[in-house]
Symmetry: C2
Subunit: 307 residues, 2 copies
DNA sequence: GGCTGCCATAAGGCAGCCTTATGGATTGCC
DNA sequence: GGCAATCCATAAGGCTGCCTTATGGCAGCC
């Protein structure tokens, strides 16, 4: 008894057999598979030669399964049914689940508050957000989209700039009521939220202010712009924030920006995804939605001066 | 919700995926499938592009299934397991079941009595005999071998002559004890079994006997040579038989053949099978066995004169 | 630090697969 | 009874898809 690992015959031939057995017709099977009747005949012959026994009896105007064919057909059809179901399931999730890897700051200050609108536009796409402090590698993980900070050049990735990484001091209107801020150094007279954030140094440097010394101030670092902006709105002092993260608060006057000066880190926030998958419907949907959201923000913040 | 018939991806790629998922390794899968690692990588990429989502995460020195890959793998493996089982089963029957379509006379007088020896030689081959009065069409039925009468020329079929369709009168030695048969016409003095068989006319004609008239005799037609031979051995008269069908009885003296004259129908008994399947082990086994049986018979009946 | 193991990718060739075209065989229809 | 239609087999031919070889990158390991 030779007990070879029972190599399976060519799968393409098996697939043709499955269709032919179901239809009991080569012509019908060819239609279903989108090929010619001759190709079906060819593939069936391949399989029969491989097995060493005929699977169909060729009757005048029809084909019928032989005993071996009948022995084979139900199992094969069942197996293919299982495969069809499995692939349909995966395709379903591929189309309907969108997983995003995003930086914490961006998720909290921008993405999460707006997600409801996307869900409303695309109720059949379930969005899964994975927050991470570090940039995702699409080769080693399984995300559809990523939000990352950088210069927009990543090999193999399509990148859309959402907005530059700008920052400028803001505060509550109450904090400076009755006070006229003439120049940037006037800010030093007020409490500064998260003064140890190095970007403060950058902004003051860009403004020509020399004597800002964070070590002289209480280090109440709040960690994320979300909290810093909230503290500023509560009148606790000046926060250094990216105006793109607070377009509503700025336009509604809950936050005011006393100086047009915007510093930049030369990096920006980018939406990225593998170039190869740019045709994916859900990716297109999310990208388009995101860019339109950004466009709306840009309108609202159009009053802001550029650096 | 588009509800297309969910076309299956290329089966060859699915097969590669199944092996790769099982091994969690492209290299190992390539070994199993007898191809190169590059080919596996290529096929997996095909499938991933088709699905629009990665199935494996490429980690430094290994690959791991993604969520979608894990969703797909068990079902695919199960389906392939079913396919393997089904094909193994068919191959088993292909190798171990030999179906023969044979003429009634041949089955009764020659094949069935000897089958035991073949079974003994090849205990793992199950022989199925289908007796039919008419010749089988290998294109429209499902037999491995056929025994048929004819001139040995059938397109697409391999044919081995088993023996010519000869016939000669025989009887029990007791029937003619003490009698000397000088010429063929002497047979007319004895009872004739199945006198209405037209071959009797042929034989007497070949022997130069004119006055044989079957209508003058009781028509106790027994139908098959098997029964006719048995009747002859029982001393009931002369039977016209093919000596190849009774080699043992002739050599043991249970039947005697008074005249060397053998008439022939110019047809013979042939073993046939589709040329395309001549490599089949079971067909080779049966053919070789059958031809050796025939050779043995020819030795036993070598005393018989040719026409 | 070289070595090994694993995967990706490019280039290139071959064969397998599919198509077109034709023929045979049977059925069904006037 | 002849003609059209249906269905499958087969031959010829072309193209593309698949596989191989070769190379490179990357990480872990002695």
């Amino acid at each position: 008894m030779s007990k070879l690992p029972s190599k399976l015959p060519p799968m393409s031939a098996v697939r043709v057999f499955e269709a032919a057995a179901r239809h009991q017709s080569f012509t019908r099977a060819a239609e279903e598979l989108g090929m010619t009747q001759a190709a079906v005949s060819y593939q069936i012959k391949i399989l029969e030669d491989r097995l060493g026994a005929p699977l169909f009896m060729r009757l005048p105007r029809q084909v019928t399964l032989t005993a071996k064919g009948r022995q084979l057909a139900p199992a094969v059809t069942e197996a293919f049914e299982a495969l069809r179901t499995a692939f349909a399931g995966v395709e379903e999730t591929v189309q309907s689940v969108l997983s995003i890897s995003t930086l914490t700051t961006f998720a909290a200050n921008w993405l999460v508050p707006r997600l409801g609108r996307f869900q409303h536009l695309h109720p059949n796409i379930a969005v899964q957000i994975h927050v991470s402090g570090q940039v995702v590698d699409f080769g080693q993980s399984d995300f559809d989209l990523g939000i990352r900070s950088g210069n927009g050049s990543w090999p193999g990735l399509e990148a859309h700039l959402l907005f530059p990484n700008l920052f400028t001091p803001v505060c509550s209107p109450e904090l400076i009521r009755g006070v006229t801020l003439k120049e940037p150094s006037d800010i030093l007279k007020f409490p500064i939220i998260s003064p140890s954030d190095p970007w403060w140094q950058d902004w003051f440097a860009a403004a020509g202010v020399q004597d800002f010394d964070p070590s002289q101030r209480p280090d109440n670092n709040l960690g994320t712009q979300q909290f810093e902006g909230m503290a500023a709105m509560a009148g606790q002092g000046f926060a250094l924030i990216n105006p793109y993260f607070f377009p509503g608060d700025l336009s509604a006057g809950r936050l005011v920006q006393p100086f047009d000066l915007l510093a930049t880190s030369e990096r920006g926030y980018w939406l990225v995804y593998p170039k190869a998958r740019r045709r994916s419907a859900k990716i297109e949907a999310f990208r388009d939605w995101m860019l339109s959201e950004v466009a709306d923000d840009t309108e609202k913040t159009s009053a802001l001066a550029q650096v």
